[in-house]
Subunit: 215 residues, 2 copies
DNA sequence: TTTGAAGGTGAGTAATGACTCACTCACTGT
DNA sequence: ACAGTGAGTGAGTCATTACTCACCTTCAAA
């Protein structure tokens, strides 16, 4: 027979990606110490020996995962857009809904927590790419709006952390601690945004409308 | 010689507590899978065999730790007190400062996260005793204040989670991710409380003062 | 003085962990 | 036709792990 057309042998790159994917899922589920190389190999459908052909050590594989998972930017551009227009409501809603989303898988969050708890060397970088960007952006925006005179004068970094905190904590409860959500994602997001913005926006002196007010 | 007076042999109970303390510190630092029974024994200053005299398995020791660490109540009483007086500012400040405190050790937080991530069977109970109490209490208070007409009508549970989220996230950043705090504990707490309460309190219709306003 | 229970241990054991090695297989360029 | 090469593996090695067991020490009550 000419060739077993069923499965073309994957290239080196594909194998590596496959291993990373399989390992990421397992590390996220059970942590670094809780996952064995044998399991990873099995889950990726290869022999254990092959894992070590591609990654010299188990830790190197873990590091490759953390280094790989760098994403996000499309959101930040959109936020930038809304920032220019001073659309407070939109800026906050976008950030919140990015994290509170129907089908986010918890892999990244779990990896992040595990890596921080287990003190992995790349944990900081991972944190920087996945969380710090958010509150740095948000802090910058809040600072601008304070200078505009639109927000009350608060520490921008603290305020940004507070908001991100609401949202991240919500995910934590839901995805890690299994607390059920009793509201739709949209309602949750809008409640958080509303609560937070109301606390932040400076009232003109008199006259206040219950609805949204921007610029 | 009559007796080595230097070290009185500890009783069963004391040994057990010593083991639990030693193990708790190690599990908090490195997780369940990252900690060996040999390390625990060494840290408690006994032979490995003794560990198994007191706890049939390593998991049982872990379970004993989670079951042991149940505290808190003195705070809840104080909160109850402030609740009766409808002292919003105080209620929120007390809860926040309980968690954001100069010298809390991160052991409990780390144990909580590890146990949830590693999916330990007692994790739920641990979570219930250490976190759920807080936001259940707070949610109840918020509900009352909404009925009083003092707070805007929001979902009390969601609002409570939002506030606790700010605070817990702050600890997470600080204790787990090593993010430095650039403000004193007091300022941090008062910023959070101020932000949140301002967003929550219903404005009478006109007239607003920049300072605190309660009841 | 004996006894025996409680506190304690050194030296295992069986299983499992990460990692290695000698080797095969399938395909390609010459 | 066949050497070369990269993908892949079965069967290890050796250290470590959770857990066991036969035995020791102390001390108070009988």
């Amino acid at each position: 027979m000419p060739q077993t057309s069923r499965t073309v042998r994957p290239s080196s790159r594909e194998r590596q990606d496959g291993l990373i994917a399989a390992a990421a899922a397992l590390f996220a589920a059970k942590g670094f110490n809780g996952t064995t190389t044998k399991e990873i190999a099995k889950s990726a459908g290869v022999s254990e020996a092959l894992v070590f052909k591609y990654f010299p050590t188990k830790r190197a594989l873990y590091a490759a995962i953390l280094a790989e998972k760098v994403t996000v930017n499309e959101l930040l551009e959109a936020v930038e857009e809304a920032s220019k227009k001073r659309d407070d409501h939109r800026v906050f809603t976008m950030i919140a809904s990015y994290r509170i989303r129907p089908n986010v898988d918890s892999t990244l969050l779990r990896l992040l927590l595990f890596s921080a708890l287990e003190g992995h060397e790349l944990s900081d970088m991972f944190f920087g790419k996945h969380h710090k960007v958010f509150y740095d952006h948000l802090a910058a925006y809040i600072r601008t709006r304070i200078e505009d005179g639109a927000f009350r004068p608060v520490d921008p970094l603290l305020a940004a952390r507070a908001f991100i905190g609401m949202v991240v904590h919500h995910r934590l409860l839901h995805e890690i601690f299994g607390v059920p959500m009793h509201q739709s994602h949209e309602d949750t997001v809008s409640t958080y945004v509303d609560l937070f913005l109301t606390g932040l926006i400076k009232k003109p002196a008199s006259r206040q409308t219950p609805g949204r007010r921007a610029r």
